[in-house]
Symmetry: C2
Subunit: 208 residues, 2 copies
């Protein structure tokens, strides 16, 4: 399966909603194709312990596994890749240290996306598409900005920010390769069911 | 110069006292032989930017450069090594990912020191020797515990925790290879002078 297809439904952990391991297990059961471990302000050893469990689960379900920000943790748990924001390690340095990892870069405007692509990014996390509270630091891209990015960028684009089962259709129709979701899945009362619902819509729009 | 000699005066940054780059410059002017960059809760990119400046300064002064906890930052800035605590990445994993880095491990008792040595640590950061406030999470080792550790461990031992120019003599006489200092140097009104005073005592006890 190519990278684009494996980025279709990209679920990001958030322990403020639910602990990482159980929410990842449910999201994988529901059809998530990629998981991002995102933990802030925990000891490195705890990140590694959680990451190793998620590595096992994602292998079992043949899903991609990314670690947010922390290349050290990604290497320690044999993740498939690392996702870096504009305040994290520059993609060029990540690629020098770990040329075999898949590297995603967050971009909130076209300039950042072009720079990331030039720097060697393998995909763009484009957002925030809608206003959101789950990443306080997220800057706004909007649907117009997303459309412009899709027209200019060749690497896969995963849209992020405020995406739920109500609005995912219009986002997908713009031409993104996947959607990244936090609260609409990890914050749902039934994580597995919320993932399944989202996956059904995605497969309807993008084809099986 | 061998590792032991390069660990003699090991200065750890603390931005609560003074910004990293200017304090490191002064400590190096004063004779520090090793620097540890220790930043908590800052963006990774900021750690890398600060780390690169410290890498330049430590090269200029032929001092060792360690990064606390963050192997990713250590690799990104070409540090000489990384220092890990009991809640950080296990030394065995650090050595697998980065076999060429010097790895120090914090130990607050003999069991932790023995485990670290078996795991491949290159030196032990042994402490806290005296009560201290600069690392809130530091556990107490004491002079008796330090003595026991020196008798049992073959790799170099750097004592840490509450060491100042008043008590450094008795610590060195126990047989440690170096001392690590935060507040007595970085918290001093004149960092360079505080470093010089400490260095003079160290060289008196250990020889030039
Ligand atoms: Ni005095």
């Amino acid at each position: 399966m190519n990278l684009k297809k494996r980025l279709r439904l990209y679920v990001i952990t958030d322990r403020r909603f639910k602990d990482e391991v159980s929410s990842v297990r449910e999201a994988l059961e529901g059809g998530a194709t990629a998981i991002q471990l995102r933990i802030k302000n925990a000891p490195t050893r705890e990140m590694i312990e959680v990451g190793k469990k998620i590595r096992e689960l994602t292998r079992e379900y043949n899903a991609l596994f990314f670690v947010n920000d922390r290349l050290d943790v990604a290497l320690a748990v044999n993740a498939d890749g690392v996702h870096v924001g504009q305040e994290d390690m520059p993609v060029e340095i990540v690629k020098e240290i770990a040329p075999n990892l898949i590297v995603g870069v967050s971009a909130s405007n076209l300039r950042e996306a072009i720079e990331a692509e030039k720097g060697g990014a393998d995909y763009i996390g484009a957002g925030s598409v809608f206003p959101t509270k789950s990443k306080e630091d997220a800057r706004f891209l909007g649907l117009e900005g997303l459309k412009e990015m899709i027209e200019s960028i060749k690497i896969p684009i995963v849209a992020i920010g405020g995406i739920n089962h109500e609005n995912v259709g219009e986002v997908l129709k713009l031409g993104v390769d996947g959607v990244a979701v936090i609260s609409a899945i990890i914050g749902a009362p039934d994580v597995k069911k919320a993932t399944q619902e989202m996956k059904t819509i995605i497969n309807e729009v993008l084809g099986e």
